[in-house]
């Protein structure tokens, strides 16, 4: 993970402008402890859909964490929708659908099936919990 500290180290190896570069970065990014997003490898969370549930039904992510869901159905087409975050995907048997979670403020976001799949379709939901 690339942080400001490691940027400063790289800068230090490249020449004489170390104090200047460090100072400029620090002023541009006062929240310098936060990881720079460019170097993050997303964490992959596998989610299985079946009538009428998701496994896991609770997905925990840290605020600012980069997460990709790998969605797969074991029976028929379902949907995976997080209305509040404006993302959705079809979830089919036999294929893995990758869905990058948008960065969201800490909180609980409901995800639900948005492809009618039978008598308990309305119950097919879970929670994305951003800590």
């Amino acid at each position: 993970m690339l942080t400001l500290a490691s940027v400063a180290v790289i800068a230090a190896t490249s020449g004489a402008s170390r104090p200047l570069l460090t100072a400029r970065l620090a002023s541009l990014r006062p929240d310098a402890e936060r990881p720079l997003p460019v170097a993050e490898a997303p964490r992959v969370v596998h989610v299985t859909a079946r009538r009428f549930e998701y496994e896991p039904a609770e997905i925990h992510v840290a605020a600012g964490e980069s997460v990709v869901l790998e969605l797969e159905s074991v029976d028929r087409r379902h949907g995976f929708s997080i209305p509040e975050l404006h993302v959705r995907a079809d979830v089919d048997p036999g294929t893995t659908t990758r869905l990058a979670l948008p960065k969201a403020a800490p909180g609980i976001y409901v995800f639900a099936c948005d492809v009618f799949c039978g008598s308990h379709h309305e119950d097919m939901a879970g929670e994305l919990i951003v800590d």
Binding site: F111, A112, F116, C117, S119, A125
Partner: protein
Amino acid sequence: MELDRRRFLQHSALATVGAGVVFSLGLRGGALAAAHARDDGFVFAQLSDTHWGFADPKVNPEAEHTLARAIDAVNALSPRPDFVVFTGDLTHTTDDDDERRRRMARFAEIARGLRIDKVRMLPGEHDASLDGGAAFREHFGDPHYAFDHRGVHFVALDNVSDPTGQVGAAQLAWLADDLASRDAEQPIVVLAHRPLFDLAPDWDWATRDGAQVTTQLERFRNVTVFYGHIHQEHHRTIGRIAHHAATSLIFPLPAPHSVPKKAPVPWDPARPWAGLGFRTVAEAGSGERVVLAEHSLARP
């Protein structure tokens, strides 16, 4: 027949079941609507979400009698509605296509007890989302259509035969064509099963391309949408478009986001049929006013 507000209140009070709660929308259209003036108002009834075939005695131990009770109440209305619309979920879903057809046939048989000639059907996702609307078409014909009644243009939209809860490109094009030559002053009534706006998308209370429908309706001065799906009365006006959800005839659902998890409101033996009912809509003369009356199946 001139249907003024006073007379309409009488009509509500005389209803045989429940007490009609009158929800007045006030004036609409005003003088400009006079271009479409008709000196005879009319009433139609909206019934919704009958879910024929649903079986859970804790939720509705009278499931086999609730539709008949509603039909008796509609037959007793005075003045009589010109027509009745059922806004979807006529049947409860089943994975068995033959059983779906049996439920639809039985529903249609009971609905023929209405002593009203014109009855219009719309599908809900329970009727049409698992088979693309095939069984519905066999029993009731096209799931989307338009008709005119005494100066009001009615459009029935199908936002359920596509299991993703969309109207879809083809129907949007059909709607654009249907509306293209119409005067902006003509009153428009839209019938649909799912809400056309994002009422509670995380509860599946939305239509994914609903905004593409309402955009087409924005140029009209008098647009009223009557829908079902959410099993409760609900009223919201967005821009110039008024959206009204109807109660169910099988079980009520909680108000949007009022509980963590949406589930049917259980039957209360002390108040049988509470929360179940139907609506009458009075289009008063000249299309200037629409008055809703909610008729409960519960005893007053």
